[in-house]
């Protein structure tokens, strides 16, 4: 048996099939939709069906990407310092993280994974609440009902089915809610990815499935994950309108996601969007990416930096200037400093909360165990006071 070297994922797919169905039907564009090339110049790769996002939205996206990246770098540093037990970073995926949130309206919902902390911060969730779980204080630090954000999900693709049911339920209740459901390239292999897409399509659930194809599932490259020409094509079999986008092009991400959200909201059913992007950091601080990929590959993706790309275009169009860039950078530093400062104070945990929320009302057995732990703690305290 010959060992196959996984194909380096340094190039976006470029082969154009003979037929050229487009977003009008279910088919994704044959190559990823791109509005801005790697240097920030305006191009038109299958952009015809999408409106260019407003300059206001793009300037907002730039600011959110700078702050989001700074937050992500800060969280990675805190994990390396042991202040967080773990942190799955998304540096390099800023256009996906920010685009997904800016495309939503106030009343919409997000169904994120553990790697989407940057998106949640962009959504306006308190970063300290977002980091409460990796800090080890609770499983979900924010109130999903208030923030309209489901708990960050670890069992891959399982929350996509919730999004399908939730969005359907919202429609049944007469509410115009769209659910943005996050999935990575690896999780498209999970059964629940299939079941979620199928249910959402059958019930016309207003869901946008955003697949951030960051090329790796921990260490396993996309070439070992699927034989599909593009993950975007996976929607077609379910009757779902599908698209693939340059995930490092914030303008393209917003253009496509704006349309996808509107499509879902209008009652036409779900949309699958594959964003080709790259996880610049390791899977988490506990992972060593040098074991499975070379630095040349990472360098190559660094040249497609989503933040620099949008900044170049916004500057060339005169939408932002040095002063604006400096003020955003300052804001990002202040944001990171605030995270650091607030994380220096540990919350006081009530050990008895262990027994809360197993059920609405604890069973007699839980009350017995509660009393046991209470007695242990009291004995400990007594011992300590002697």
């Amino acid at each position: 048996m010959t060992t196959q070297t996984p194909q380096m994922s340094t190039q976006l797919p470029q082969t154009v099939p003979a037929d050229r169905p487009f977003a009008r039907g279910l088919m994704p564009a044959p190559i990823p939709v791109q509005f801005l090339d790697e240097t920030g110049h305006r191009v038109q790769a299958f952009t015809d069906d999408y409106a260019e996002p407003s300059s206001e939205q793009l300037v907002a996206a730039y600011g959110a990407m700078v702050i989001g990246r700074r937050f992500d770098i800060q969280a990675t540093a805190l994990a390396k310092q042991g202040r967080l037990a773990v942190y799955p970073p998304s540096r390099g995926q800023e256009a996906c993280q920010i685009g997904s949130m800016l495309a939503l309206s106030e009343g919409d919902w997000a169904f994120p994974t553990y790697r989407d902390s940057m998106a949640l911060v962009t959504r306006g969730l308190d970063p300290i609440e977002v980091l409460a779980s990796p800090r080890g204080f609770t499983h979900c630090g924010y109130d999903p009902m208030v923030t309209r954000t489901a708990p960050q999900c670890t069992p891959l693709a399982t929350q996509l089915v919730h999004a399908a049911g939730f969005a359907y339920g919202e429609r049944r209740k007469g509410r115009p809610t769209v659910a943005m459901a996050f999935v990575g390239d690896g999780a498209t292999s999970e059964g629940d990815f299939h079941e979620a897409l199928n249910f959402a399509a059958v019930f016309k659930s207003p869901v946008v499935f955003l697949c951030q194809n960051n090329q790796y599932a921990i260490s396993v490259p996309l070439s070992k994950q699927t034989a599909a020409p593009s993950l975007g094509y996976k929607g077609i079999g379910y009757g779902i309108a599908s698209e693939q986008v340059d995930g490092n092009d914030a303008m393209a991400m917003l253009a496509v996601l704006n349309k996808a959200v509107a499509h879902a909201r209008s009652g036409q059913g779900p949309v699958l969007v594959e964003a080709h992007t790259y996880r610049l950091d390791a899977h988490t601080n506990a992972d060593d990416a040098t074991r499975y990929r070379g630095s040349d590959e990472v360098d190559d993706w660094l040249h497609r930096d989503p933040v620099a790309r949008l900044e170049a275009w916004l500057r060339s169009e005169g939408h932002i200037d040095d002063a604006f860039v400096a003020s955003v950078a300052k804001e990002a530093e202040a944001f990171a400093a605030d995270v650091r400062n607030r994380l220096s104070v540990d919350p006081v945990l009530d050990p008895m909360s262990l027994f809360d929320n197993v059920f609405a009302t604890p069973t007699p057995q839980l009350l017995e165990q509660r009393a046991m732990v209470q007695a242990e703690l009291e004995a400990e305290a007594e011992e300590a006071n002697r």
């Binding site: 609770t138 499983h139 979900c140 109130d143 999903p144 009902m145 208030v146 489901a150 708990p151 069992p155 399982t158 929350q159 996509l160 089915v161 919730h162 999004a163 399908a164 049911g165 939730f166 969005a167 359907y168 339920g169 919202e170 049944r172 209740k173 059964g191 629940d192 079941e195 979620a196 199928n198 249910f199 059958v202 019930f203 909360s353 809360d356 929320n357 197993v358 059920f359 609405a360 069973t363 007699p364 057995q365």
Partner: protein, 364 residues
């Protein structure tokens, strides 16, 4: 008796209507749907067909397809979809067509349904009922007769309910649908055609919504407590009657809810009788019966005249229909266990020979 002096006889109360257990479940679904517009029923074949056991017969027709609908054939999808609908404010009652068909949904059940309240510090509640026709005795082929209750009972955050009577099938399901927490509602499929009556429509709420965590003493006795539930209650009752001929007065406790577990009723009964046998159809090893035996011994050791014994299914995959009678505990096996309860206070030698031979076999 004179004709003229006769006061008009009070009309005899009409005998309560006899319906089947599947009919009682159907009635409970309808009454719950009438009481609360957020109750929705869905699953495989539950709509037009009315379910493979006809439990949802006519509901889609009478309540509309919005309230009772068919889904794609995917159990994980059904449960996950219910999680989402519950988050949007519905109270889904979903059906897993057969016990073993629920296994694809186990990740959704164990990782999300059971944990959502806990992992969101009480912010997200999932009032979902997952109906599971379970256990055997109907000549079913493989994957149609599993007793899967222990998997759920072992998962914190799930209530596990199993009715043994027609009345309980109605009231326990009403209570399950009313419950703020997820409930695995396990229906003994062999009893779907059993008959009985259910509380009248006008029955006070307290009569309908007050069974969780309360075991029922189905037969009083003084010598032995048989603990059973769902598909094994009738076996236990039959054994109790037969035991009377042997001179043993047997009390039978029906758990009704495995979770929450009613330690109080079970232990009180064992304190009275001094002996206890647990009966269930599920395989015995690491099963619900093991938990009950342990709990009884932890709580009533000084009242016990004999070890708590278990009469359970064999530790084998559910057998082919022609052999299922050997697997499922019957009256004889229960009577044999009762006979071993140290009536003459001499040691039970059953395991001694095996021990000498190095036999490391499990529960008998």
């Amino acid at each position: 008796m004179t004709l003229t002096a006769a006061a008009p006889a009070a009309p005899a109360a009409p005998a309560p209507e006899q319906i089947t257990m599947s009919g009682a479940i159907n009635r409970a679904l309808r009454d719950a749907m009438t009481a609360d517009p957020d109750v929705v029923v869905f699953g495989e074949d539950v709509g037009t067909l009315g379910g493979v056991f006809r439990v949802t017969d006519g509901i889609s027709r009478d309540f509309g397809e919005d309230r009772c609908f068919d889904t794609p054939l995917a159990e994980s999808g059904i449960v996950g979809f219910a999680v989402g609908m519950a988050m949007a404010g519905f109270r889904p009652v979903i059906e897993m067509q057969f016990d073993a068909f629920a296994y694809p949904a186990f990740e959704q059940i164990a990782s999300h349904v059971a944990k959502m309240r806990n992992r969101t510090s009480g912010k997200v509640n999932l009032p979902i009922v997952i109906r599971v026709p379970f256990a055997g005795g109907i000549g079913g082929v493989e994957h149609h007769c599993d007793s899967s209750e222990a998997y759920y009972a072992h998962t914190p955050g799930l209530k596990v309910v199993t009715p043994a009577t027609v009345a309980d099938a109605y009231t326990l399901l009403r209570e399950a649908i009313n419950d703020p927490d997820p409930v695995i509602f396990m229906e003994p499929k062999r009893l779907y055609w059993s008959k009985g009556s259910i509380p009248e429509a006008a029955a006070p709420d307290a009569e309908i919504f007050d069974s969780f965590g309360r075991a029922a003493v189905r037969r009083e006795g003084t010598d032995v407590t048989l603990v059973a539930y769902g598909p094994s209650l009738d076996v236990a009752l039959e054994a109790a009657t037969a035991a009377q001929d042997e001179g043993w007065s047997v009390e039978v406790v029906d758990l009704r809810t495995i979770v929450p577990f009613d330690d109080e009723t079970v232990v009180a009964s064992v304190r009275r009788t001094g002996r206890c046998v647990v009966v269930h159809e599920a395989q015995g090893f690491a099963g619900v019966g093991a938990e009950i035996a342990a709990r009884v011994q932890e709580r009533a050791f000084h009242s016990l005249q004999a070890p708590v014994l278990r009469v359970t299914g064999l530790d084998i995959p559910y057998p082919a229909p022609k052999l299922e009678h050997l697997h499922r505990p019957g009256v004889e096996r229960v009577l044999d266990a009762i006979a071993r309860l140290q009536w003459d206070d001499s040691p039970d030698t059953r395991f001694m020979a095996g021990a000498a031979n190095g036999n490391k076999g499990g529960a008998a």
